[in-house]
Subunit: 327 residues, 2 copies
């Protein structure tokens, strides 16, 4: 069983991330329905448009200069790709990114624009292809979630939430909602929240169509879905087929529940976030808000809920479509 | 000549606004073109979706409890309306808002949802109608810009910009771009910036189709346009026909220039803000970013530019349309 990340690891990540990641504000939602206040944590405002910069930069910063000179490699559906490309550029290191060929074109283009080399492969081969690069060229793998430094970096989201609520003199949030894919974000957030604000519940949110983590949590055993299953969801950032080994340990130790939302609930939350909160969220980024809005019966009662808007890198055509629908 | 607002007035406003207005972050734009960094100040993330909450709340907080009990009245194209409605609600005071009947329906609905009484009038009659309410019912007018407490409240935007840049150990910004309508925002921002960061230039941005302030600045004399002229612009928050008396004094004392941008430049900036920065901006809110992107030849050279995104309360259909265009 791997060691769990601690608050000290997260505080060290916070020091490294100063001036790189944005300390995103908590946004009060005065338009939210009456039964419990909603605060948004808009990680969509990060330099690469998602929280992933936190973990990737923290991991790369923790390497030695010699390791960084060997070059970095990552396998990602998009946001982690941009995060590694951008963090590598900040260190003057070379990055090669393996991207599933089903990923949205705008995410591929954004990764290339950040100076990374991009290799497109079928979804099922992404991890193999990345390991091949490590083996053949000695590059350093920056994993998307199954790594203590990645988890510690993502955990800075949770530390900021708890710190900002305490600094404002507000009572602790009752509930923090976090989207779940490989589990790096929720592992870090839950570690920070349970250290700094023990009364706060941390609940993960997944699409029904990629509900492997919810099934794992309910059964107490880590299960794996197929890419054919998880690629059905519109939430392209949440299509990982299983949570990682390290995240699974953190989830079992710190997370209170994992629930699911439907595709229409995700779309409706994207619309509400854009129209009422002026926040552009990608489908994955809207999942936690969807849970607050539509899955109340699955959640513990909460006077104050924080929803992490994990990213905003959405195809403009999809956003335009969502804006024009009636949900 | 009215007294100018001071940094001390702005600091007092900051104290009042703690816990009410969001301290919005400065967002680095790694996608911005190479000649000079861009930082966004996303006031679109405020509780009512625009900076106006700062001035309105500061003004109402500075009244006596007896004055607030008489009820508040405001005349506004939308965002100031929501700001007064929301601030009044926080104090348990009653608000009556006079709105031009040409204002977007979603802004009228949002104002009513905040518990205010709404009176719709033709654009030319808005100020007369508001004064009538004051005269007949003894209500207190909360002006949208022509008032020292309003200017001091909006000035907290500038104080946050200068403070955050200094706290991050970054060199002073060379340029701060601010949209101009009645002039309250730029008056406050310029006052704060010139006090805290004297080397920074402050430049106002207006739509060409509502360019009264640019014409006033160029000629050294406050001119007035007609509503028929200013209502041509898509930027419904920038249709004021003249800057206010107090703002004009502040603009002459502290502002370095006022320039204009075209309607297409505003639309293109809205698209870029949504797609690259994940920030929903209304047309008025995109004007300063449009100047950075398309009016470089009118601006002083700048290694770092801050663009104030003043608000995000845009008709969803317009945002969807802008997302689908090629600019």
């Amino acid at each position: 069983m791997p060691d769990l990340v601690t608050l000290a690891n997260i505080r060290a990540a916070q020091e490294r991330l100063a001036g790189v990641a944005v300390h995103t504000p908590l946004l009060p939602c005065i338009w939210a329905p009456g039964d419990g206040d909603l605060l948004l944590k808009p990680e969509s405002l990060q330099p690469i448009g998602a929280f992933k910069i936190r973990g990737a930069y923290n991991k790369i910063a923790a390497l030695t200069a010699q390791e960084r000179e060997r070059g970095l490699v990552a396998s990602s559906s998009g946001n982690h790709a941009q995060a590694v490309a951008y963090a590598a550029r900040l260190f003057g290191a070379r990055a090669t990114i393996v991207i599933p060929d089903a990923a949205p074109q705008h995410k591929v283009a954004a990764t290339k624009a950040l100076g990374a080399d991009v290799v497109l492969v079928p979804p099922a081969e992404r991890d193999v292809a990345a390991r091949q690069l490590v083996k053949e060229h000695g590059q350093i793998l920056v994993p998307p979630y199954d790594d203590p430094e990645i988890i510690a970096g993502q955990g800075t989201v949770g530390a900021e939430i708890a710190d900002d609520i305490a600094a404002a003199g507000l009572p602790a949030a009752d509930l923090v909602l976090v989207p779940v894919s490989g589990g790096g974000l929720i592992s870090g957030v839950a570690t920070a929240i349970k250290s700094l604000s023990p009364s706060t519940r941390v609940v993960g949110v997944e699409p029904e169509l990629a509900g492997d983590a919810a099934e794992s949590f309910a059964g107490g055993q880590r299960v794996e879905w197929t890419p054919e299953q998880t690629y059905r969801t519109i939430a392209d950032g949440l299509r990982t087929t299983s949570v990682g080994v390290h995240p699974w340990e953190h989830i079992q130790a710190h997370v209170d529940d994992i629930i699911t939302v439907s595709e229409d609930q995700i779309r409706a939350a994207m619309q509400v976030l854009a129209v009422r909160a002026n926040v552009v969220a990608e489908p994955s980024g809207a999942a936690a808000t969807a849970a607050y809005m539509f899955a109340r019966e699955q959640l513990p009662p909460a006077a104050t809920t924080v929803a992490v808007v994990s990213g905003g890198n959405v195809d403009p055509a999809l956003l335009a479509d969502v804006l024009g629908q009636h949900y």
